[in-house]
Symmetry: C2
Subunit: 333 residues, 2 copies
């Protein structure tokens, strides 16, 4: 028998375990042109909270009583499609299930295992990595000596954004929600400074760690952190907006105060979604994969074992308990 | 005797007449290299409210018991400076006074009277005009068929922004605070649609007049208008932020709600201040002055007579009573 995770209830505020159900279901069967994939890793991502809402966010909402869908890394275990061979590593937006039939192999991408470990295809060597690159480098445009401030600094995107900005010669400052995360970005990712936003006054921390002000704010969270960044921004600062996770689980919208700084400081705030940039992925991989292989850049994965633990893993990630990319391992590589 | 307008009290909320004082003062005298200017027109501008505050906005705050300063168009009536001859028309950031001595002529610019009427040097053929151009064209990047929504549409900047966007082939929609202003932008400036935001529901009006959504929002006001524009924006919309006048006179800051649209719709919001673009003024003038001379573009000035009426003219402009550019005429041309 196969096992899958259904989405069964729309959350109000934070998602909780009652929003999901574990279900046994028949093994999938494949027909002509189809591909059968054994899931290895399920990706948990902040944007999934938006998909749990009724209305459309930038991705369509999940249907009730249907499987959760996210990026999944898997291995082809049967194929009637000439483009995919048994043993190929692939990723795609797939149902959260142990095994999935992919009609005509559509939306399935082969992973070049020579680039690095296959799990990275949904993180550092995939769209989260490209997200960090586009935000930190293309939109942030950090010059040597610029101060780049990154919220959710220990997250999948944040830790990469910081390392990219550091390679560009910037002073990189991060905030995260635990002392362990702060230690991780300082000791492993080479951030110049970092602080625990839960135990530190934001203004005091930004005054201390960004003494020359903020030139680039890589926004993963919105809310009061964005407000503080507006207060400490320099003239002509760039604010790539990658996420506003502080708002995703909020009921109501308390508004962003101090937005007049956009005018008085000539700030450019740019929301971006990586699907608009996906054509850059091959060039990105060619450039950055060697940095991970050589160890010049690091990437931390927080791996939870067992598909039955996927709902709790996702909920916990949204509540900030993971360092780096949280994956659910469904089967051994 | 000379007459000048002093700034004597910092307002809380709206400026009122008690913030200003009319004062008789000695006629200015000029020394070597100095220039004596007879004021013709005092420019009233929304950004002056920011200068009445203690802290710095993007321009330094006014000193108490010193003259109000803004752009002034004048005529040279005495000169000990080879760069300026008696009879020259000039503009500069000058004290609000009938006659002003300008040490070494610094900060004084000669007006090319062949371009158009001299008063336009502080509006359509000066920085407000360049502001409209940079916001509507350079940052807004309207493509033919795009919908451009402009708040404060009958203001000095708004009416030009709309006409520039219209020339670029866009559908141009404006909002203003009186039926007279709405009629002006519809009948004189060629806007495709306009509405009185004081008597119309914003969402209903934007649904009606921007049926394909908003591609460019030229923000002059911030506040609830910005929030509505975020709700009606299309993917990849551009939001040049030129002013947030709704906040200037507010005590406190109620915050901007729905800013998550910046992310979900990949909006680029860019604050800009025309001083960063001033090098473009000659090219701008060469391009647009002919459009005003030929009558292809129009520009409405609301001229109040007499320096003694300058405070009331400024206060009234901030409260929205002027159509187009409000000037105070100090002396006949």
């Amino acid at each position: 028998m196969n096992t899958r995770i259904l989405f069964v209830k729309r959350p109000t505020g934070w998602a909780d375990p009652s929003c999901f159900a574990l279900e046994s279901c028949p093994e999938p069967v494949i027909g002509p042109q189809d591909v059968l994939v054994q899931a290895l890793y399920l990706s948990t991502d902040p944007y999934l909270r938006g998909r749990m809402n009724e209305g459309p966010s930038y991705a369509p909402g999940f249907a009730l009583n249907k499987p959760v869908v996210s990026r999944v890394v898997g291995r082809v275990i049967a194929s009637q499609n000439a483009k995919f061979a048994v043993g190929d590593h692939v990723w795609g937006f797939l149902d959260w299930a142990q095994r999935v039939a992919v009609p005509r192999g559509e939306g399935l991408y082969r992973i070049d295992a020579s680039l690095g470990r296959v799990s990275l295809a949904v993180s550092a060597l995939g769209m989260p990595g490209l997200t960090a690159w586009v935000g930190a480098i293309e939109l942030g445009m950090p010059a040597p000596g610029d101060t780049v401030y990154i919220s959710s600094a220990a997250g999948a995107v944040g830790q990469l954004a910081g390392q990219f900005a550091k390679r560009a010669g910037a002073r990189v400052v991060g905030s995260a929600g635990s002392d362990d995360k702060v230690a991780y970005v300082l000791e492993r990712c080479g951030f110049d400074a970092a602080f625990n936003y839960k135990t530190t006054d934001l203004d005091a921390a930004l005054r201390e760690h960004c003494p020359k002000g903020i030139d680039v704010y890589f926004d993963n969270v919105g809310g009061s952190t964005l407000e503080a960044a507006l207060r400490h921004a320099n003239v002509a600062a760039r604010f790539p907006v990658c996420g506003m996770i502080s708002a995703y689980n909020e009921v109501g919208d308390r508004g962003i105060r101090g937005l007049q700084a956009v005018l008085s400081k000539r700030i450019t705030m740019t929301g971006f979604i990586i699907y608009d940039h996906i054509h850059k992925l091959p060039a990105y991989l060619a450039r950055v994969a060697p940095w991970f292989r050589s160890g010049e850049m690091v990437f931390h994965e927080d791996i939870v074992q067992g598909i039955e633990n996927a709902p709790a893993a996702l909920i916990g990630m949204m509540q900030g308990e993971a360092i780096g990319k949280r994956l659910v391992q469904v089967a051994p590589e």
